[in-house]
Symmetry: C2
Subunit: 345 residues, 2 copies
């Protein structure tokens, strides 16, 4: 690309094919659509939209609904086009060329990608060999690199491990850097998560999303919770009308009816235990998880068999070894997946 910034040389556009058939277990999505009651309410809202008018640039009604759900104020909430846009805004507002950003390794690859796009250098804090969190590695990485930002993910994508409150507190207290805690998958854990810490620490931003338990990946809505001073960072650099009317309305409808999703949590708890046990019984290397996906090491033979059956799982390389991240589908989809694994184990 002739016009690409010199320091981005080597970067290329990222494309993946859009899958509409087969068993799709590679995107950490909910296997179930949003509840019909929510869709019906939403369709009635859509009929009333003035498509010719710009959205409320501050997503006021949506922010109020989110704030209410967590007993916070509107000023503690920022909305974005997925957590992706929030992350991009935070990187853009906070880091300059040459700054360091400490990230967990392995973790969601976009943290490092965005760091690089905004001129910063990612510094990796490795997990233990069994993929549990290594606090010392994290604290050492922070001490040695003096980062401008630290990005944590809990439950961690792609390993599913959760950080303890104690560890997160130690990390936040060890640094003056801005700490981003991405809790995209927290609802699957059945636990409350660490939003409460934003009242204690001025350098913490918690990220949440509608894309996972809330079955709203299609609408692209992520949000940040923090003190006003950090929310202002996002609002200073984001596009004025970043969240469209369609998304604001659907996200508001979802959060106002979030009780409808509660019963789904037990399903994921049951399935992750069942899948873990089934795979362990087959001698497959698989790790405990608090999310809607499991981190495992499937043989090439199994991977090839899954591909032949149009069962899509994610393959990732870590320290030169190939791993898989498999998300929890419907009961039928889980059964199909396990059947192919069993036949090829």
């Amino acid at each position: 690309m002739k016009y690409l910034r010199k320091d981005l040389e080597g970067m290329v556009p990222y494309h993946t094919p859009y899958l509409t058939e087969g068993i799709i277990l590679n995107a950490n999505e909910s296997p179930y659509n949003a509840p019909q009651q929510i869709i019906d309410l939403y369709v009635e809202e859509v009929k009333k939209i003035n498509f010719n008018r710009y959205p409320d640039m501050d997503s006021t009604l949506l922010k109020d609904a989110i704030a209410k759900a967590y007993d916070l104020k509107r000023e503690n909430v920022a909305c974005g086009v997925g957590s992706d846009e929030i992350l991009q805004c935070l990187f853009n507002a906070v880091v300059s060329k040459g700054d360091k950003v400490v990230v967990m390794n392995p973790s969601f690859s976009m943290y490092s990608e965005y760091a690089k796009i905004y001129g910063a250098t990612p510094v990796m804090a490795d997990a233990n060999p069994d993929f549990t969190f290594n606090l010392d590695n994290m604290l050492n990485a922070i001490r040695n690199s003096n980062p401008r930002m630290v990005v944590l993910c809990s439950p961690n994508n792609p390993t599913g491990i959760m950080l303890s409150e104690d560890d997160v507190r130690k990390i936040i207290e060890s640094t003056d850097a801005l700490v981003i805690l991405d809790e995209a998958y927290i609802e699957f854990s059945g636990e409350q998560g660490l939003i409460k810490l934003i009242n204690e620490y001025s350098n913490l931003v918690v990220l949440r999303t509608f894309s996972k338990l809330y079955a709203g990946a299609a609408i692209r809505l992520g949000y940040a919770l923090s003190i006003k001073d950090n929310i202002d960072l996002i609002d200073t650099v984001r596009s004025p009308y970043n969240v469209n009317v369609l998304t604001q309305l659907m996200a508001k409808t979802i959060i106002e009816h979030k009780v409808l999703y509660k019963e789904r949590i037990q399903y994921f708890k049951d399935q992750r235990r069942a899948i873990y046990e089934a795979l362990t019984k087959l001698g497959i290397e698989v790790y405990p998880t608090k999310a809607n996906f499991l981190w495992m090491k499937l043989s090439d033979k199994i991977n090839e068999a899954l591909a032949r059956e149009n069962i899509y799982v994610r393959t990732m390389t870590f320290n030169g070894e190939k791993y898989n991240r498999v998300c929890i589908g419907t009961p039928d989809e889980v059964e199909e997946f396990l059947k192919v694994v069993r036949q090829n184990a």
Copy 2:
């Protein structure tokens, strides 16, 4: 903001109240909603959405529909959250700290804002005193500053003047910088615009939007047309799933039925002539326009009277003088506006 990048010091979050009542002539929106036929088709599509699934990250079906409308290929199209996101991506991918970006003055203020957010310095090329385009000022600004990027807007927001094909060619040929031509308002002119030039010049990107004539500001969809190498710039730095499913579907429905909007163009042509003549007759300084808005100088008395009547128009300062940008509403709205102006002229 404690964590804001030092070079952004002084920037603050931009908020404007969301208006739902009164006569709203300050946002250059279409005064008419999307045609009911399009909304009906869309509502049927919404009912079928799998909200739990991520969008097609390449907006393939939408890009194909856009490409078809202009006899281009999919590889010539990039989609974004409004032209705003496309602009942000281009700035992010192309400019580095210290680069110069030449912009028209006056023009859409976000060009300079985005330039600054991405570390560049905007260089202003002033219009003539009567706000017509001054080609010499533009060519001199380019020659003197050796910019990395040039941003043109035609018809220009907020003045409504249109750049001639000849002038645009001279600008593109004068520089190796990437030239962005924002044609957000081109459909109101009744002319074809300059998309055809992307087949001739490798340093031209044309921006278009669904937010204006196509009455889709609510959905936030802008697009860029250029050679593949420039489209790749956008795709390299954008968030993978930037355009949500809801927006992709509505934009596709609109462009496939764009013939339904054709009859609206004559309305804007008639109204801008009528408003221009009415204001001129009252001795008000007003300028010819090819867009759905008019650039004018209303007295403080008129501005205050408009505010009292909840008629919202945009006030902007240029070279220390206050001007107004007033967009064309429905016939009733135009009549209300002119009535208040007449009563206070």
